[in-house]
């Protein structure tokens, strides 16, 4: 194991962290504003993957371009889901059984719709870029992963600007940090929840379509990624958008480097173990830890 191998693993981990952040952020914004854990996350990610596939097979649109097109399409899908179902769940300050059951049920429905429409076969998307790599000082970088990383990063920059510089973005952060103060400032919580659900699903669909460029998928697609999103969101402190990026880097590094010591088939177990450790040791996530340090220092 030389230095080159370690560097290769490190680069691979960072590239992975980009898509992991985009994948988790949708869950985080929804949790932040609505205090609901989106158990249908995997279902929407799966739809995102098949969206890229259909666009590529039927309309011959490049799957990377389709990922970007997924953003408005899944925003509308999220808004429609909120209007038709989610808004009827009573508002609460923490996840409630009705919200969990509704979204879990929705996931099952989406999965079975997936089986009905696309069957159970493993599907994947090939493009000219799928196998391309380039080398830089001994580090091998798959081109497709670099582009996926770039799109993920751009989406996060756009989200950051949006959350900090628009009235709607500020209202999302306000409701995340103190819901009642938001109401007293005149924020229409129902409307904000609807648009936030759309925003969260837009990112989830984008992530699913991007991941379809990297991995094969079936209607089960997304469940292992949903688990990782949980870990990342918990590490990030549930409500902190910058914490999510840190959480994603940690999960990506641990996953990538763990293949040095444990067989790749244990990767699921690693996510689970991380989740348990995070909940036991860091109940407030990285953000909570930093705050504790600041208070001490």
């Amino acid at each position: 194991m030389g230095l080159d191998d370690l560097l290769n693993l490190f680069v691979a981990a960072i590239l992975l962290a980009g898509i992991y952040t985009t994948m988790s952020i949708g869950m985080t914004v929804i949790y932040g504003v609505m205090k609901m854990v989106n158990l249908a996350h995997a279902g929407f990610m799966m739809l995102g993957a098949y969206f890229a596939l259909e666009m590529s097979e039927r309309l011959h649109i490049d799957p990377l371009v389709s990922s970007v097109l997924a953003v408005p399409v899944f925003f509308l899908l999220g808004v429609a889901t909120h209007r038709s179902m989610v808004r009827f769940v009573p508002v609460a300050d923490e996840p409630t059984l009705p919200s969990l059951l509704l979204l879990f049920g929705l996931w099952l429905v989406l999965q079975n719709v997936g089986y009905g429409v696309w069957g159970a076969d493993d599907r994947s998307i090939f493009s000219a870029l799928t196998m391309a790599t380039f080398q830089f000082k001994g580090i091998v970088v798959p081109v497709i992963r670099l582009i996926v990383f770039g799109i993920a990063l751009l989406s996060l920059v756009a989200l950051h600007l949006f959350l900090h510089h628009t009235w709607f973005g500020r209202s999302v952060r306000a409701l995340t940090q103190n819901r009642e103060a938001g109401q007293l400032a005149g924020i229409d919580t129902g409307r904000t929840a609807m648009l936030t659900f759309g925003l969260g699903i837009a990112f989830t669909g984008l992530a699913g379509a991007l991941l379809a460029n990297l991995y094969s998928f079936t209607p089960e697609f997304g469940s292992s990624f949903m688990l990782r999103s949980f870990v990342i969101t918990v590490l990030g402190g549930l409500e902190s958008f910058s914490g999510v990026a840190i959480g994603a880097v940690i999960v990506a590094l641990i996953e990538t480097f763990s293949i040095l010591v444990v067989p790749a088939s244990y990767q699921h177990a690693i996510s689970f173990i991380l989740l348990v450790v995070a909940l036991l040791v860091l109940p407030g996530g990285i953000e909570g830890l930093l705050q504790r340090w600041r208070r001490l220092g």
Binding site: R170, Q177, A181, G182, Q183, L184, A185, D188
Partner: protein
């Protein structure tokens, strides 16, 4: 009083589920007045303000603002009409800067265009906030946070400003400054409804007051009348 009241609360009843806490509260606030609600913990003062703000729905009774019935309207519609509450415990957004907190105070559509002019006015009233505009609100002291909360409330140019226990947790020196700021705001034509535990202080600046006990209005009068009332002196002023 010949002037039509700005706010009229009439036979208000409010319950949390099966537990009724307000059993018929009535009071009015005329334009330009400082009116105070006084009473022990559990008398229903905070619940009354929360119901006016639309965070709770009344079980019975009316809340009229400029003659329009607001009872049961959602909070954002109440805010749009210029009825603003500065809640107990400040309730700032801790991981946002002071300036972001203030700007969001102008979220209501009618206030957005004026947000930056209004920001300057708030900074003129609270110069300390200007120096701290880039600081995260959660890292300020209680007194500074209260100033920020009041500033946020002023951002939408309110017609009626409701304070819930603004002096809670403040050092005695800051309490004097706080009351001076409240009277200063009242002089700028903002009508004020004040809920406060510091009864002596409050009755000095209030035009009128209402005593609430166990969810009912038991006594009302001008600030002076209440200060001199034997009942108020015995029960609230400890003399």
């Amino acid at each position: 009083m010949s002037v039509r009241p700005l706010l009229e609360v009439e036979d208000l009843e409010v319950a949390y589920g099966d537990v009724q806490v307000i059993w018929g509260i009535s009071f009015t606030v005329a334009p330009g007045e400082i009116v105070t609600l006084i009473g022990p913990n559990g008398a229903g003062k905070t619940t009354t303000l929360r119901t006016i703000s639309g965070l709770l729905s009344p079980k019975a009774g009316k809340i009229r603002f400029r003659g329009e019935d607001l009872s049961g309207r959602p909070a954002h519609e109440v805010v749009r009409r210029g009825v603003i509450q500065i809640p107990e415990g400040r309730k700032l957004w801790p991981r946002m800067t002071v300036e972001e907190n203030l700007l969001l105070g102008a979220f209501a559509p009618r206030a957005r265009d004026m947000a930056h002019e209004q920001l300057d006015r708030v900074y003129a009233l609270f110069p300390l906030l200007k120096g701290r505009r880039r600081q995260l609100a959660g890292t300020m002291s209680g007194g500074e946070q209260q100033m920020c909360a009041i500033g946020r409330g002023l951002m939408s140019e309110p017609e009626l400003l409701m304070f819930d226990e603004p002096s809670l947790g403040l050092a005695p020196l800051l309490v004097d400054e706080l009351f001076a700021k409240i009277t200063g705001i009242a002089k700028q034509n903002v009508t004020i409804l004040l809920v406060e535990q510091k009864v002596a202080h409050t009755l000095e600046i209030a035009d009128r007051g209402y005593i609430l006990e166990t969810g009912r209005t038991v006594l009302s009068g001008t600030g002076k009348e209440l200060r001199e009332s034997e009942y108020v002196q015995r029960s609230y002023l400890g003399t």
